[in-house]
Amino acid sequence: MTTLEGAAGDTPAAPRRFDRARRPPLRRVADVLRSGETHAWRWGARIAVLLPVAGLLFAVTVLALKAYPAIKVNGSPFFTGSGFKIGSTYAVTVHTAGVAHPKGSFYGAWPLIAGTLQTSAIAVVVALPVSVGCAFALTERLPAIVSRPLGFAIELLAGVPSVVLGLWGVLTFGPWLAKTLYPLLANNLPDVPVLDFFKGTVGHGEGLLTGGLVLSLMIVPIITATTADLFRQVPTLPKEGGEALGMTDFEVAQRVTLRWVRSGIIGATALGLGRALGETMAVVLTVGAIFKVAPNVYSPMSTIAAAIATQLDSALTDGTGFAVASYAELALVLAVISVLVNLAARWVVRRTSHLGGPVGRAA
């Protein structure tokens, strides 16, 4: 009777060993965990991508809330006036538009705004041609065996902590400039508009030009790396075509390569500009941190970032909290400027990262 079991044609029973209900308990726990893993990844990633966004919204909200009373009281003189006066902290507090602040307080950030723009402008004007030159040297003129270590050296320069750069600027570079380059500029430049800004006493090397030059050293690696990447993407054929037509390498660079990546370079420059606007430590140490518009390029001055870094301590002495609020407004102004510049830069870089030709866009 029992011998017929397992005869041909009988379908064997499903291997029950793998039945979920029969698994050993530990294995079952592991199984639940493993099937939950997908969800864990999904939700973990979802939360992680939202956290920085939440942090950003938090930062903007904090700034806006903190700055609101200051914006209400300071009004438009904040952008045109000059001088940060906490006011008399011993006198009676007065109220303007419902906001308490010490008597005689006045906040005008024009010198700081101007200073931020000036140092960044100097940095970009110096860094742009140097960076493009470097990118040419690295990608077109030097053999790979030389250009690779040099490119890495420039990369390392980008990694030097800004405070170390500032220390070098104030102890070594600034004084050297004040002794050599600055007198040369101040004594020999003609007295015409723009250039007469380079006239006057040269000081000891803490000032606008020193800050701008140190900043330019900081943003050169950024612009150089991006520009070199762009140059590598320019196809070889048009360049060879140019040379075949008898162009010199300067003409190829000018008419083919540069024209091919023009907007990319603009984006790279704006990226560097964004970095220069927000930079604090290298500027704090090298510009002298004096609260006024610089009469010439050698005079000490200050920027928004530097002012926040150095003055927040004294703002705490204002018991009404109005000084801290005014610094929040200052921080907000800086954030808006540099975020706008950065966004514009990224937009340009992204739009141009898929290269088209200078003549129409390749499909």
Binding site: L63, L157, V160, L171, D249
Partner: protein, 291 residues
């Protein structure tokens, strides 16, 4: 000047100009390195690494460990958040209905965040965390603000690394019936690991060299870390020593400032060289080496 001569002159000027530009960048860089070494080495004693700070001198044990602790904290917080965010942007964000890439808004927010000046983030940390939540100058607000600063960078480098993993790997894994989690861990993340680690190392170098966001979140302390995450009275780190000690009247303190700068540069160089070596190694082993 005749046209031919003009062309020759311009070309020669161009060639000279490119090398001049290179010299204009590399010579200050070399000078910077040389001057930090020249200022630090004559007074260098190894004991700065294991003696604590005193009011006029001493050693840098506190700041050195402080910077390392900050970097470890950033690695944990920003590392996990950034890598997961990168996974989301590369692997999970759904494409839009019009066929455009997903996650556009998230990327935009990330861009805005990386354009935020670090000093402003520090100010926010001071107002909201140090004062608002009564945390005081301590480790946690400093780590959080530093992390917020480098997270966009880590997310971006992770996303880039993940996108370089061939789609065929994922399809193969799916064809074998692997679960999403297994595919991510065993196939995608493993092949992208060198790129991710490189991004993490560079982010650590950035975090370790940062000063501005720490001024108002960690401030400074001469004592060693007590283990408190919040409610401490300041937290010591190297960049602050560089920033303030150089113009104090004490000669010993000035030397410490130069020493700190040297240690910082050595740390950053180590991290960047390590990152570079990883890149070089993986490039040697990858198929797509020839470009």
């Amino acid at each position: 000047m005749p046209r031919k001569q003009r062309r020759v002159v311009f070309t020669v000027l161009f060639r000279l100009g490119t090398f001049l530009a290179l010299a204009l960048v590399l010579s200050p860089a070399a000078w910077l390195l040389a001057s930090v070494v020249a200022k630090a080495v004559p007074h260098w004693r190894w004991s700065v690494l294991w003696t604590g700070l005193t009011s006029t001198g001493g050693g840098l044990l506190g700041p050195v460990t402080g910077t390392l602790i900050l970097m470890a904290g950033v690695l944990v917080v920003a590392g996990s958040v950034g890598v997961l965010a990168g996974v989301h942007l590369s692997e999970m964000a759904r494409p839009r209905k019009n066929g455009a890439e997903g996650g556009t808004w998230l990327r935009m927010a990330s861009d805005v965040l990386s354009g935020f000046p670090s000093i402003v983030l520090g100010y926010v940390g001071y107002v909201a965390l140090v004062v608002g939540l009564h945390w005081g100058f301590s480790l946690l607000p400093a780590v959080l603000i530093l992390s917020l600063m480098v997270v966009p960078y880590i997310a971006k480098s992770t996303e880039t690394a993940l996108r370089q993993v061939p789609t065929a790997y994922r399809e193969g894994a799916e064809a074998l019936g692997m679960r999403t989690g297994d595919t991510l861990r065993k196939v995608v993340l493993r092949s992208a690991a060198p790129g991710i680690v490189t991004g993490l190392l560079i982010a650590l170098a950035i975090a370790g060299g940062e000063t501005a966001p720490l001024l108002f979140t960690a401030e400074f302390s001469r004592t060693l870390w007590t283990g408190a995450l919040v409610h401490a009275h300041g937290f010591g780190y190297l960049t602050y020593v560089v920033y303030t000690f150089w113009d104090t009247p004490s000669k010993q303190a000035n030397y410490l400032s130069y020493d700190a700068a040297l240690i910082l540069i050595a740390m950053v160089l180590l991290l960047l060289v390590a990152a570079r070596l990883i890149v070089a190694r993986t490039q040697r082993h990858s198929e797509s080496r020839a470009r």
